[in-house]
């Protein structure tokens, strides 16, 4: 069976005019992560390991809104969240409200593997991180100058700014997003992981779609999905689960009128849909190994591009 991997660094109204000095570092990171994933999959690593590996790299890149480089709450603090899910076993783990953990995605995996629970948040999650001995840093480590400026501007505009999308007049750097990765390994195992700092100027304590299984993150034996965009819209449309639910419950694509459209409608989220999806869909039988990187972003009224990997 062929392996496949897809990753994303957030969705939104990214301007085509994004200057090269802002575009290139992000693209370079995506390419590096894709190479990393490809090498890992070629050498037989499990999908779950690969998605964790890739999301850790993206978390460590200050150009994306996860790990170092996470956007700031209204209080000027960082509250990171992440989730991971294994498609075959449906095992999953999630964390919210992290302020010191260097790689939130790895803590989510530890919640999955080392606790009887799925989801730990805030002080309890921080305490668990210390128990497990994962790498932690002072909260200031995660705060970048660019994000301080972003918060200042968001406060000036007196609004909660969607991390990736709202045009900020003076600073195109605001377009940084949630990160995620989906993979299927050559043994046919699917996995997904998503990580984020959330929204610029979010209220302290706000939880978005990323750690909510079925909303921002979901995998089963049919597909693996990582969503990004307006968290509140993704939650109420249970976007990640709905991609899987359509594959599972609906007749094969083509025989169901509007099947794809329904999935898309789910993503579009009733008029305020700024969301992108990532799907790794299992397709047995063909021996071709392939990978493709799709930057699934939606521009204005155009339908979402890409998002599917088969």
């Amino acid at each position: 069976m062929g392996w496949a991997v897809a990753l994303h660094g957030g969705a939104g109204d990214i301007p085509r005019s994004l200057p090269p000095d802002r575009r290139e570092p992000r693209l370079a990171t995506l390419r590096r992560c894709l190479d990393l994933a490809t090498a890992a999959l070629r050498s037989g690593r499990a999908a779950l390991d690969v998605v964790e590996l890739v999301v850790r790299e993206l978390e460590n890149c200050p150009h994306y809104n996860a790990g170092v480089g996470s956007v700031l709450t209204a209080d000027g603090t960082v509250e990171m969240e992440a989730a991971v899910m294994d498609g075959n076993t449906l095992r999953c783990g999630a964390v919210s409200g992290l302020s010191t953990v260097v790689n939130a995605v790895s803590l989510a995996r530890l919640v999955m593997e080392k606790t009887p629970h799925i989801y730990l948040a805030f002080d309890g999650a921080e305490a668990f991180a210390r128990e497990q001995g994962v790498e932690t840093k002072d909260p200031s480590h995660f705060i970048t100058e660019a994000n301080k400026e972003r918060l200042r501007q968001a406060k000036e505009a007196n609004r909660v700014q969607v991390d990736y999308t709202q045009p900020i007049p003076k600073d195109d750097n605001s377009r940084v997003g949630t990160v995620g990765c989906v993979a299927i390994d050559s043994a046919g195992n699917l996995a997904t992981a998503t990580s984020t700092g959330g929204l610029v100027n979010k209220m302290a304590g706000r939880i978005g779609d990323t750690p909510v299984i079925g909303a921002g993150t979901y995998a089963n034996a049919l597909c693996a999905v990582s969503a990004t965009g307006v968290g509140e819209a993704i939650i109420r449309h249970t976007v990640a689960r709905d991609v899987a639910a359509l594959l599972e419950h609906a007749p094969p694509a083509g025989t169901l009128p509007g099947g794809r459209r329904r999935a898309r409608r789910g993503r579009r989220a009733a008029g305020q849909g700024r969301a992108g999806g990532r799907v790794g869909r299992r397709r047995g039988g063909h021996g071709v190994q392939h990978h493709r990187h799709v930057q699934g972003v939606r521009h204005g009224g155009r339908p979402p591009r890409g998002g599917h990997l088969a």
Binding site: T89, H117, F122, G205, I213, G214, R236, H249
Partner: protein
Amino acid sequence: MARWAIAIHGGAGVDPNLPEHRQEEAKRVLARCLQVGVDALRSGAAALDVVEAVVRELESDPFFNSGRGSALTRLGTVEMEASIMDGRGRRCGAVSGVSTVKNPVSLARLVMDKSPHSYLAFDGAEQFARDQGLEVVDNSYFITEDNVGMLKLAKEANSILFDYRIPLSGSETCGAQAVSSDNSHGNGMVMNGLPISIYAPETVGCAVVDSSGHTAAATSTGGLMNKMTGRIGDSPLIGSGTYACGACAVSCTGEGEAIIRSTLARDVAAVMEYRGAGLQEAVDYCVKERLDEGFAGLIAVSSTGEVAYGFNCTGMFRGCATEDGFMEVGIWE
């Protein structure tokens, strides 16, 4: 005019040896709270207001595991969570890690109505409650003598084991193994790593369709006895513990982790939407096919005024009523 319908629950996974007087008390509380909803629906209240009002009643009564009477964390504290969803527009609100708010379901509603977000947790949720002027009480208000005793027993049982329910290989039904695994308590039934005699049915919930055909659902819980602090279960998770849309409204209860893995509440709606199933058919399918090795139950109403429930464990405290005069309160099959 559509026909209204209401279903409520007070948790799934009931000790088969629950004393008769406790069973009677449970039914009395359920009947009283159900009547609150029925009266509101008869007077034309909107589904969203009804689910909030009914869940407030259930929270305020110490019998069930939500609000006053919530299960205790490992540290002996209460950390409550709740969510609410309006089928119209699929608006939703949720809270976790609430420790002083008297009625978490109302805080969830305020998150939906008054914040730019749909989910707030821990200190941020508490701060928001104060900003909104909601009634707050000391954490000790929620702690009952019964639950202090239960926590002690739970600790003695060295419970909340590593998640033995997850199959390490293959897809054998580990539920059966879990039930027969080594535990010397009660009748051998285990839920969430707790002998059924200690397990506090997690959660209360309500699902309603009003006479305008609008649906709503709400769920509230203290979570799992002896849980790690910071643990979030299925109740506040839209699509897992709570869901409402144009087709139906659903509230789930039971082993939270199994409900999350199966996105149980959303799947009832998805089976109706994508397979064209009826309400009871969708409920039966999800309980049978979507719950892996976990124990859980759920209540549901359809936008056309049907009620349904289902569970795969010993029993579920529940009640339901419809406009044509049907009313039922029950615990066992």
